[in-house]
């Protein structure tokens, strides 16, 4: 057990801090909206050139080309958190498609897509879930029928974030309807400008269209967009789903929220009394603090397993379930602490924290469901972590 960093890493930390301090004036602000905002793209370019984004992606594909080093990644994340400067761009193209292409893409696909994706010049959306295929993703039915050098795609996708802004989609389609359900799926890339694609915003409980529905009617796309091989899409998708689950429930993000909550409860007053002096609210706050400490320590344990290239076992399997639930509970307490003002939303003079607690409370419920529901997570923990048997398959009628 040693939580200190060696001199080499402390020197690296200083280097990162110096780079961030020297360039802080170039950072985009919340006013710089939009996924293709020029200032954001310039910031991303600067971060990549300094090894603070796309750090381990080879230079030939537009990355920085460093050796993977989990501790350096951690130090970079800590320095962004400390300075409050905007982090590297994070979107589904960067976090899910790029690792997939690096592992399984053709040379042409790598050359065409990785560089512009990393630089925020090409935006992607993910076409996985369907109205009839949620937790049972492999039941997806969007059909791609072979026609010469093309496929003709018909069907629909749901929960497609950034579909409106996206230039391209990475999509799961059924290419062999006669095969077993996991064996007839392909992973294919195509342009969102292809004729026959309709995107309809899906307004959720937060009042915002964070997601969309996407409809395909006789959408003709080239077969060259297949990643890895026809009918091997399930293996390709599983490679990326691992990346998605790893992103949800990050304990450092949870810690940052707790810090905000502590600040709220220490500063806000009701009837002239500080909220922190209310023993019930204080008790709830301390309870959450204990849980945040536990998830942070669990995160350190996972980091060490990753460094040693070992499986983190149960410690890793529980992160999505516990982390997303904890975020939701932190927002719940913030709302309760605000009392009647806790129902204020979106605008108004008396809004606290820009109304973010209410929107987070609702959005976090979406994250408890999305990315593998809490119940699916429990199946995974019980089956892979504890070795309990799978649900027996229903006999075919």
């Amino acid at each position: 057990m040693d939580l200190s960093f060696s001199p080499e890493y402390e020197a690296f930390r200083k280097e990162v801090a110096d780079t961030l301090a020297a360039n802080a004036h170039l950072a985009p602000t919340p006013e710089d909206r939009g996924m293709k905002n020029a200032k954001r793209q310039a910031w991303q370019k600067l971060l990549i050139e300094n090894g603070l984004a796309a750090r381990t992606i080879p230079t030939e594909y537009g990355g920085y080309g460093a050796e993977p080093d989990i501790l350096k990644s951690r130090i970079i994340a800590e320095e962004f958190a400390r300075t409050g400067l905007p982090r590297a761009m994070s979107n589904q193209g960067i976090s899910m498609l790029v690792p997939t292409l690096l592992e399984l893409g053709t040379p042409e696909q790598k050359a065409a897509y990785i560089r512009p994706t990393l630089h925020g010049e090409m935006i992607w959306c993910q076409g996985y879930s369907e109205p009839g295929a949620g937790s049972d993703l492999a039941a997806l039915r969007t059909a791609a029928v072979s026609d010469g050098d093309d496929y003709v795609i018909n069907g629909s996708k749901i929960w497609t974030s950034t579909a409106k802004q996206a230039d391209m989609i990475f999509c799961l389609v059924r290419t062999d309807p006669s095969a077993k359900k996991h064996e007839g799926i392909s992973y294919i890339l195509f342009s969102m400008d292809t004729p026959g694609i309709e995107v309809r915003p899906l307004v959720d409980m937060t009042g915002t269209a964070n997601f969309n529905e996407v409809f395909f009617t006789d959408v003709r796309v080239p077969k060259s967009g297949i990643v890895f091989a026809e009918n091997k899409g399930w293996q390709v998708a599983n490679a990326t789903l691992t990346h998605e689950r790893g992103m949800l429930g990050d304990p450092n993000a949870t810690k940052a929220r707790l810090v905000e909550l502590v600040e709220l409860i220490k500063t806000e007053r009701v009837n002239g009394e500080r909220l922190i002096d209310n023993p019930i609210l204080r008790d709830r706050l301390l309870k959450l603090q204990g849980e945040v400490y536990a998830m942070q320590a669990n995160g350190l344990r996972i980091t060490t397993h990753n460094l040693k290239k070992e499986s983190a076992g149960l410690a890793g399997l529980v992160v999505k379930l516990m982390g997303c639930d904890l975020n939701h509970e932190i927002a719940r307490l913030a709302i309760d602490a605000l009392g009647e003002l806790g129902i204020m939303y979106e605008t108004g003079e008396h809004l606290r924290a820009d109304g973010s607690w209410q929107s987070r409370y609702m959005y976090d419920l979406g994250l408890i469901i999305g990315g593998g529901t809490a119940q699916i997570q429990k199946n995974i923990i019980a089956e892979r972590g504890l070795g309990l048997p799978r649900e027996p398959k229903l006999a075919k009628a």
């Binding site: 057990m1 204080r282 301390l286 204990g290 400490y293 320590a297 410690a315 799978r390």
Partner: protein
């Protein structure tokens, strides 16, 4: 940076767990719980051979010089086996005496001084009890003292939060839910304080951390038993562990406990290295493990169905050990209030 147990730490825990598996099976625990002194003495003697009494004593004083992280691993193994042991009392005393020179530590290591622990005054003093120190002598009553029976000396807290080492006075055992350990009412009648220590928050934090580690072990045992039972017990023509209702109970238990393990490690390491957050972490580890442990004690019993409720299966010994740990050294609410105080969050 490495957040993991060392090879030595894993070996320490494995060898102790292996010993306890043979030396303290449920039949033996059952005998001890129903007052079999021979069985209890045999187990205590066996544990003494592990050198546990000197584990957290500096090498200068003849001990092994190991830290609280190692102590937590030992306590976790004891909790897993729900074994009675003087280890908690000894370790808290050794920690309290760490800056107090050579007067008592070698005798503790050698087993000549056998320690009991009476810290109620630090956590939850009740009407009808209380210990005061005047001119170096103690008077009054301490409740639910640990390992007082057959101890030679005790670490005692007084009403002003001072700590004392005294010879063990008259004491009577108190009947509690947890028969795996003896709890005592200790009556002080002017015993002389051999060592007086100024109030400091660490002794209580260490006691709480060890109680949390004990619960960690006991709760892990309850999960293991539930999972084994769910994988074997059949109803409706299949093992009950294949039903999601049962499977999810098991998953929830594991999801609550696994991060708690890392919390214990982190809190112990923070106290060992003098990190300022160590006291808060240890205090919150106690309340956090109390909540997780209570959930697991209940849920594991439910997974066992009616058998979980019987004396025959003996699951209740773990249920009660976890239940007792929850109350000892302050309830979860008390711990959380103390953690607020330690962070300066209470109004002056």
């Amino acid at each position: 940076m490495e957040f993991a147990l060392s090879e030595d730490q894993r070996m320490l825990q494995d060898s102790l767990s292996g010993f306890l598996k043979d030396a303290a099976p449920l039949d033996t625990i059952r005998k001890i719980a129903t007052g079999d002194k021979v069985a209890a003495d045999a187990l205590v003697t066996g544990l003494d051979d592990f050198g546990l009494s000197g584990l957290h004593v500096a090498e200068d004083h003849g001990g092994l010089g190991l830290g609280l992280l190692d102590a937590c691993l030992v306590q976790e193994a004891l909790g897993y086996a729900i074994a009675p042991s003087r280890f908690m009392a000894t370790t808290v005393t050794a920690h309290a005496l760490r800056h107090a020179g050579d007067a008592h530590l070698p005798a503790i290591v050698a087993g000549e001084m056998r320690m009991g622990l009476a810290l109620t005054e630090l956590s939850s003093r009740r009407d009808g009890a209380g210990v005061t120190a005047e001119k170096g002598r103690l008077s009054g009553t301490s409740l639910l003292a640990l390992s007082a029976e057959e101890s030679t000396h005790m670490l005692v807290a007084d009403a002003a939060a001072g700590l004392h080492i005294v010879e063990t006075p008259d004491n009577v055992s108190m009947q509690t839910i947890d028969r795996t350990r003896v709890f005592s009412e200790v009556r002080f009648a002017g015993e002389e304080s051999e060592v007086s220590l100024k109030p400091d928050d660490e002794a209580l934090a260490v006691a709480r951390l060890l109680a949390a580690a004990d619960t960690l072990g006991a709760a892990q045992a309850m999960i293991d038993k539930a999972v084994a039972y769910a994988a074997e017990r059949q109803q409706f023509g299949r093992v009950i562990g294949s039903f999601q209702a049962v499977k999810h109970m098991c998953a929830e238990m594991a999801a609550r406990l696994e991060p708690s393990r890392a919390l214990i490690w982190h809190a112990a390491h923070a106290l060992d290295t003098g990190e300022p957050e160590g006291l808060v972490m240890a205090t919150l580890a106690k309340s956090h493990l109390a909540e997780a442990g209570t959930f697991i004690a209940r849920t594991s019993t439910e997974v066992h169905g009616g058998m979980g409720f019987t004396d025959l299966v003996g699951l209740h010994y773990w249920f009660k050990r976890i239940g007792a740990n929850r109350q000892l050294f302050g309830s979860p609410e008390q711990c959380r209030m103390d953690a607020a105080r330690l962070q300066g969050w209470l109004a002056a």
